[in-house]
């Protein structure tokens, strides 16, 4: 019996093999969305818990990697929805050292604030498309939506940011 068939049938050893094969990739995808190592580890566990939970829905001929990435994206989106209620600004992993020194600390803080206040589904696509520069097709596949919808969400995120950051980019905001 193939590995994926055994996994779909509930074999824990097959699940362990898949976990060890894919945990790094799921983690790497998640940390780029949530931007925190500890939270990304928790979400990686949550992703694989959901994978094991819904194993009967997985077709052994299907693409496990793509399925895992979609579940990871949903888990990260659920986290962003919950975390949005917290008013405190999250500490970004890349940190101020990685940011542009030409932009003053206050402006950076303002940009971060505006970004982290985006509605979760816009923040997710904006993070992946504008910061991490992931192709629209990959984001669409991970979210289970069309590339056109990803493009629309990026556009809406930009529109929200443009309004919020009007003092930093007045020429853009007046359009």
């Amino acid at each position: 019996m193939e590995l994926l068939e055994r996994f779909a049938a509930g074999d824990l050893e097959a699940f362990e093999t898949l976990f060890r094969e894919h945990q790094k990739e799921v983690y790497a995808w998640t940390v780029r969305i949530v931007r925190d190592h500890g939270i990304a580890e928790d979400l990686t566990l949550e992703t694989f818990w959901r994978i094991y939970h819904y194993r009967s829905r997985f077709h052994p001929d299907g693409n496990f990697r793509a399925w895992a990435r979609r579940i990871a994206t949903n888990a990260a989106l659920d986290y962003l929805k919950k975390a949005r209620r917290e008013t405190e600004l999250p500490e970004d992993l890349a940190g101020p050292a990685a940011a542009d020194p030409a932009v003053c600390r206050e402006a950076r803080q303002q940009i971060k604030q505006a970004f982290f206040q985006l509605p979760p589904k816009y923040r997710l696509v904006a993070t992946l498309a504008l910061i991490e520069e992931e192709p629209y097709n990959d984001i669409a596949e991970a979210m289970g939506i069309s590339p056109a919808l990803v493009k629309m969400r990026v556009f809406r995120a930009i529109r929200i940011l443009r309004k919020k950051l009007s003092s930093l980019v007045p020429e853009v905001a007046t359009k």
């Binding site: 790497a28 566990l45 818990w49 990685a98 940011a99 940009i111 910061i131």
Partner: protein, 77 residues
């Protein structure tokens, strides 16, 4: 065109404040934690969402109170 320009300007602002994550490496094997999580959080007995149960209840009630709709429903099935 304007949209493209806006996009570039906002993208420039964002990259000035929030850099892409470079360190995406997982630092430890999470399998032991996974085993604990599987033990702590057993699978729920019912996997059917409450909304489906509510829908089924409404549908059953409708059939009970308006039995005349049953032949019409059977006809359309």
């Amino acid at each position: 065109m304007n949209n493209e320009k806006d996009s570039k300007e906002i993208k420039a602002l964002l990259s000035a404040a929030i850099a892409p994550i470079k360190d995406t490496a997982l630092r430890r094997d999470l399998w032991p934690q996974m085993l604990c999580k599987l033990d702590e959080q057993p699978l729920p007995v019912s996997q059917i969402p409450w909304f489906d149960w509510a829908l089924a209840a409404v549908f059953s009630a409708a059939l009970f109170f308006f039995p005349g709709t049953i032949p019409a429903l059977l006809y359309h099935l």
